[in-house]
Amino acid sequence: MAEPATGGASGGVPSWGPHNTVRVVDPSPVNWLSITWNTMEEANRVDHEGMGQPSLAAGWRWVDDETLELDVRRETVFQDGEKYDAQIFKLAFDKVQEWTNPHPPGAFLNFAQDTALTVVDDHTVRMRFPGGNSAALMKLRGMHIPSTRFWNEWGFIDPKTGTAEGHW
């Protein structure tokens, strides 16, 4: 029986061994994407039955045909202790918008350059898509939201090329 990762009596980090380790060989050409979605988090995710679920956005609503408002999840912190809020969400959007074609699957995941994201308050952001973009939630699934430290130390820049194009 696997020891719960949340710890035994001490509640600390488990002692890792064969009893609580799963070894996987994933020869898929998109195994990099599985690693990404096992380690990064986005506004929404897709569950094991293939259905969209809230994640770092606790919910969302289309205010009108061009405006999506998202509830930024409250009382959430990154592993490095940084508090997650609407400014962090906006930082992730600003970072991805710096590049022409950051997503390996292709430009269809890009937000148009005229997409605007405004912080309404600490727990609300509003995205405006001139002309409409019902694909927004699909695109948000690919917009990773890490802590500030990630951007400062790594980002998605390929050290060999110095660019994040095709490297998100």
């Binding site: 380790t21 690693i35 699957p105």
Partner: protein, 314 residues
């Protein structure tokens, strides 16, 4: 779809070790195990390891139907078949010189020539399902009134003959993973007067006729953006036909329809359109296949991603 040179990593660590984030906001999704991706073990050896129960590998992803069918795990391991959001379809090369595939009658005849049950049962060892076009029955966007093209060899043969294609050799490209599927297609198409020359070399020789493409839908209920667009959209990586203004107009309509249930109705409209136009040679939705040690309680994702938050050791 992903492309070599962009998506394929050119370097990788022999192992990637994932440990749970114990401070995650959602305690219900904190993994109960550590995951180690073994990148240096070849797939064939990994499958043998799972079958032998030697403890070196617990899970192998992405088995082909043939590999899953041949797997002998005895009491220590088994095949996990997941009915994932996948598509296996033939792309018609409408761009080749004097392409016969620009004809809707011919494309429909090709769809009527295929015995999808045989493709599934014989070609893919039963691992998957038959579906009308690109969305599985019961999934978001599926049209309950839409049915797969019915097998009608006589009508297909008549249309092939009328188009002057009887006796023609056609070049079918496919991954070796789908050799069984191509064998069934070859037999099916022979019955309507076409001879298949199969090419499993993963190259794209000029003048090819049909290319088998496997694709998957990882999206939160947006199959047209991830799958249909990739095959038929003006920026689709698999498109082998002139731009289709009708498809592009439907996609633009979808983009302007954010609210449910109206959005799902547009998805159904797209699905009906590509089906009625026989825009592809519709085949099956293959299951994703895993070799899994019995010591693991494995939860697979319908997205085809090996997300493992719910997987545990028994």
């Amino acid at each position: 779809m992903l492309a070599d040179g962009i998506s394929t990593l050119d370097t990788r660590s022999p192992q990637v070790v994932l440990e749970p984030n114990l401070t995650h906001w959602n305690p219900g999704r904190i993994p109960k195990v550590r995951i180690i991706y073994e990148n240096a073990i070849p797939k064939e050896d990994a499958i043998k390891s799972v079958a032998a129960g030697d403890g070196k590998v617990d899970v192998v992803t992405d088995l082909t139907p043939a590999e899953a069918h041949a797997f002998q795990g005895g009491s220590v391991a088994a095949i996990h078949s997941q009915p994932a959001k996948t598509v296996l379809a033939g792309v018609f090369n409408e761009n080749k010189l004097d392409s016969p595939w620009t004809s809707i009658e011919v494309r429909r005849a090709m769809n009527m020539a295929i015995d999808r049950d045989a493709v599934l049962q014989q070609g893919a060892h039963g691992y998957g399902s038959v579906m009308p076009a690109f969305i599985q029955t019961g999934r978001y966007g599926a049209d309950p009134k839409l049915e797969p093209y019915k097998l009608d060899e006589a009508a297909a043969a008549a249309a092939i003959e009328k188009a002057g294609l009887k006796g023609r050799e056609i070049l079918v490209l496919a991954s070796p993973d789908w050799e069984g599927v191509v064998e069934v297609m070859t037999a099916n198409l022979a019955k309507v007067g076409l001879k298949v020359r199969a090419d499993f070399s993963k190259t794209e020789p000029e003048g090819w006729d049909i290319k088998l493409v496997w694709h998957f839908d990882w999206s939160p209920q947006y199959p047209v953006g991830v799958v249909h667009r990739e095959f038929f959209g003006n920026n689709g990586a698999h498109r082998a036909m002139p731009e289709d203004p009708q498809f592009d107009a439907l996609y633009a309509k979808l983009l302007r329809t954010p609210h449910q249930p109206a959005q799902e109705e547009v998805v159904r409209e797209v699905e009906r359109y590509v089906h009625d136009q026989a825009r592809a040679l519709f085949l099956i939705s293959p299951s994703t296949l895993f070799a899994v040690s019995n010591r693991v309680s494995f939860v697979a994702y319908d997205t085809c991603m090996s997300e493992l938050a719910e997987t545990t050791v028994r």
